[in-house]
């Protein structure tokens, strides 16, 4: 059986390749070319120089060197059109509609575990292996593939993987699921990988410098579109005008900085109303919510939610899952009622449901 390793040129996926090679598997290394960093470079405040980011020539070079060292065939596949259609464009549109997108989940759903898996199968590989920190296993009693949190809780990436289908989980290997990051670096050193100490990637891969507002401006300019005018009022919860803002895409629920207001006590973005171009601001306690609705669901450990169910729910990547009761509404929506109110429920982010270490499923916060 041939396994295609998704290689980014980073420590994790390189270690996966070396590990599987040691185990004697037949491997093909694949790197997805997803975005041309040069496209927007130098435009409207975007950095002139792009370096060390995903899809950069440097990372492809690193991945290629690892493949050479391991003597495995290696190819770069061009999935830029799909990435732009299924990740970049929705990312921009979500912000413009006053929501806060998660491009990594979109990339997992559409590129890594869909397009790349298809490419892998096209070239004759039956499985793909990635450097994600997660675990998957088949539970014969339930007859389902299960997604579980990894050994390294601090690197847990299951929040971004809630969209995986049974078919995708069945064809995917997460060889790092049982290791901690320091252990992986040690393994990498042991395998003789020169990049064992390469820093982790942090920001959104296609936004060098992390300034997503400038990215949106530059992208729309390149597309010959103008940023829609969503400038409007900053208001208090009671609707009292508190100031002006320059566009809803500049805000995320829970945001404190950049409101442009002087106030004796800290102010936060409470909610964003794209249609009325209003951004509601208020004190931190106004951010607390005891319920949310999640839509466009994907279930992993169960086929579907029939009745109410207890679960711990994570509403953003860095959020300690909170106890809640799930209640189905119609075919593709769930109401999540928390035992104790949670801070900053953010439309556009995912709500992912856990039973212990298992991912039950998840959906997008409405």
């Amino acid at each position: 059986m041939t396994i295609a390793v998704a290689m980014s040129g980073g420590v994790d996926s390189s270690t996966v390749a070396a590990m599987l090679k040691r185990e004697g598997h037949d491997l093909v290394g694949l790197t997805m070319q997803l975005w041309n960093q040069r496209r927007l470079a130098g435009k409207d405040g975007m950095p002139e120089q792009v370096q060390g980011r995903c899809c950069s020539i440097d990372d492809v070079y690193d991945a290629r060197r690892v493949a050479e060292m391991l003597s495995i065939p290696y190819y770069v596949v061009n999935h830029q059109e799909r990435f732009e259609r299924d990740v970049i464009r929705p990312f921009v549109d979500e912000y413009l509609s006053g929501r806060t997108p998660i491009p990594c989940s979109l990339c997992n759903n559409h590129l890594k575990f869909d397009q790349l898996l298809l490419t892998a199968r096209q070239i004759g590989a039956e499985r793909i292996a990635t450097g994600h920190y997660a675990r998957n296993e088949y539970d014969s009693q339930r007859g389902r593939w299960i997604l579980k949190r990894p050994a390294d809780a601090g690197k847990d990436q299951t929040y971004f993987l809630f969209g995986l289908t049974q078919e995708q989980l069945a064809r995917t290997l997460f060889p790092l699921g049982g290791f901690t990051k320091p252990e992986v670096r040690e393994l990498a050193t042991g395998y003789g990988l020169a990049l064992a100490n390469k820093p982790d990637s942090q920001e959104i891969c296609f936004i060098p410098g992390g300034d997503y507002k400038r990215f949106i401006d530059a992208y729309l300019e390149e597309q010959g579109e103008t940023v829609p005018d969503t400038a409007g009022e900053l208001v208090s919860a009671g609707g009292l005008p508190r100031g002006r803002h320059e566009g809803v895409h500049n805000f995320t629920v829970g945001q404190r900085k950049g409101l442009g207001l002087a106030s004796p006590s800290p102010l936060y973005v409470i909610s964003i109303d794209r249609d009325r171009k209003r951004v509601t601001i208020g004190a931190e306690q106004e951010l607390m919510r005891d319920a949310l609705r999640a839509q466009r669901l994907n279930w992993i450990s169960i086929a579907r939610l029939e009745d109410e169910m207890r679960a711990r729910v994570k509403i953003r990547h860095r959020h300690e899952p909170a106890w809640a009761t799930l209640r189905p509404i119609g075919a593709d929506e769930v109401e999540v009622r928390f035992d104790e109110a949670v801070r900053a429920v953010t439309p556009g982010q995912a709500a992912v449901f856990y039973a212990g270490d298992e991912v039950i499923g998840g959906g997008w916060i409405a």
Binding site: V28, C55, I57, Y75, V76, V77, N78, R121, Q122, I123
Partner: protein, 356 residues
């Protein structure tokens, strides 16, 4: 080449005897290349490859205010050079091609302007093998008194080339496209054609290419030219190419550029409904080296500008593969290739039917 890599390191521009020995080897190679192209040795400038030859011809000929005519299916070495000139205040015109990828010579005539400085049209296309009417264009250029550059990188070694019957002033060739070493090339520069060098620093190559000569590479290029002149016609390769196409056409949508005259070694085949990039990799893993489109800096393939200029849809461009034959290709290899491609294409079609 070997003595100049392992034993003899004389600089061809030096006065000492080692240098003179290298110089004589370089001049022998120059004479060989000149015979291949039907020109005088003094009209050959050695370069670092086809791209450099093209660049030298384009950048060395044109100044701001000039007008340049080229075609939409040129190699990037010409296309991107001309595009860069366009950004620097040169008027540039990219002529369209017909469905088979052929430029109409009459379009060249119509595009002429009083300030037209250069016409650059390739002899054979590198992706499809399609031949351009360079002799007709040469006549038009001659009548108008305009400089004519021919990128013959893909044609050299496969077709007889005579710079006088083409009527060109500049003509590029590359070593590795005719079994010579990589990183070697030459530019024919007709006597009396003024050319601004790309590099400054020395009087090498009659002040047209500063830099110490790559003696071993040049000797290899000269040998490649000799081999080409000895090896005669392309009929055997053409027969194999036709056999390949006949076999592939049972599973393919068509041959891109198949309606036009082509060089004997290139075949660009459209496999409808198949992801060309995946097919290239699947075939490579089975030991068959083919290509699709052009490679970008990361090594991923990009949709072919040539096929798109021929009016083919992006889907068709993405589903097209280029097969290249060489002198040593055998009938058995062709039959094995047909078998391999057929089975992989069938597998990919089945897979896309399942996953759609």
């Amino acid at each position: 080449m070997r003595p100049f890599l392992l034993e003899q390191f004389g600089n061809a521009s030096s006065i000492h005897q080692e240098g003179q020995h290298a110089r004589s080897a370089v001049e022998q190679a120059r004479a060989s290349v000149a015979r291949l192209l039907g020109c005088r040795p003094a009209e050959i400038v050695f370069t670092g490859g086809g791209t450099e030859s093209d660049n030298l011809a384009v950048f060395g000929s044109v100044r701001p205010g000039d007008h340049v005519i080229t075609s939409a299916v040129e190699h990037h070495a010409v296309l991107h050079a001309v595009e860069r000139l366009g950004e620097r205040g040169v008027e540039v015109e990219f002529l369209p091609v017909n469905g088979d990828g052929v430029v109409a010579a009459e379009d060249v005539r119509r595009a002429l302007r009083p300030n037209t400085r250069l016409i650059s049209v390739m002899m054979a296309n590198n992706e499809t093998g399609v031949l351009q009417p360079v002799e007709e264009i040469g006549r038009i250029a001659g009548e108008a008194g305009v400089r004519f550059h021919v990128d013959a990188v893909q044609a050299a070694g496969k077709l007889g080339i005579n710079v006088d019957s083409i009527g060109c002033h500049l003509l590029s060739i590359s070593g590795h496209k005719m079994h010579g070493p990589q990183g070697t090339g030459a530019l024919f520069v007709r006597r009396g054609t003024r050319l601004e060098p790309l590099s400054a620093g020395g009087a090498h190559e009659r002040q047209r290419r500063a830099g110490t000569e790559n003696v071993a590479g040049i000797v290899g290029l000269g040998q490649a030219a000799e081999c080409v002149m000895r090896s005669g016609t392309q009929e055997r390769m053409r027969g194999l190419r036709d056999r390949l196409e006949l076999g592939l056409l049972q599973h393919a949508g068509g041959v891109n550029g198949g309606g036009a005259p082509r060089v004997a070694n290139t075949s660009n085949v459209w496999f409808d409904g198949v992801d060309g990039e995946a097919l290239v990799i699947a075939l490579d893993l089975k030991g068959l080296a083919v290509s699709s489109g052009a490679a970008c800096s990361s090594g991923a393939s990009e949709p072919s500008h040539v096929l798109q200029a021929m009016g083919l849809s992006p889907d068709r461009a993405r589903s097209s593969l280029r097969f290249s034959l060489h002198r040593q290709t055998t009938e058995e290899e062709i039959d094995r290739a047909i078998e391999l491609v057929s089975s992989q294409v069938a597998r990919l079609r089945e897979l896309s039917a399942v996953t759609r």
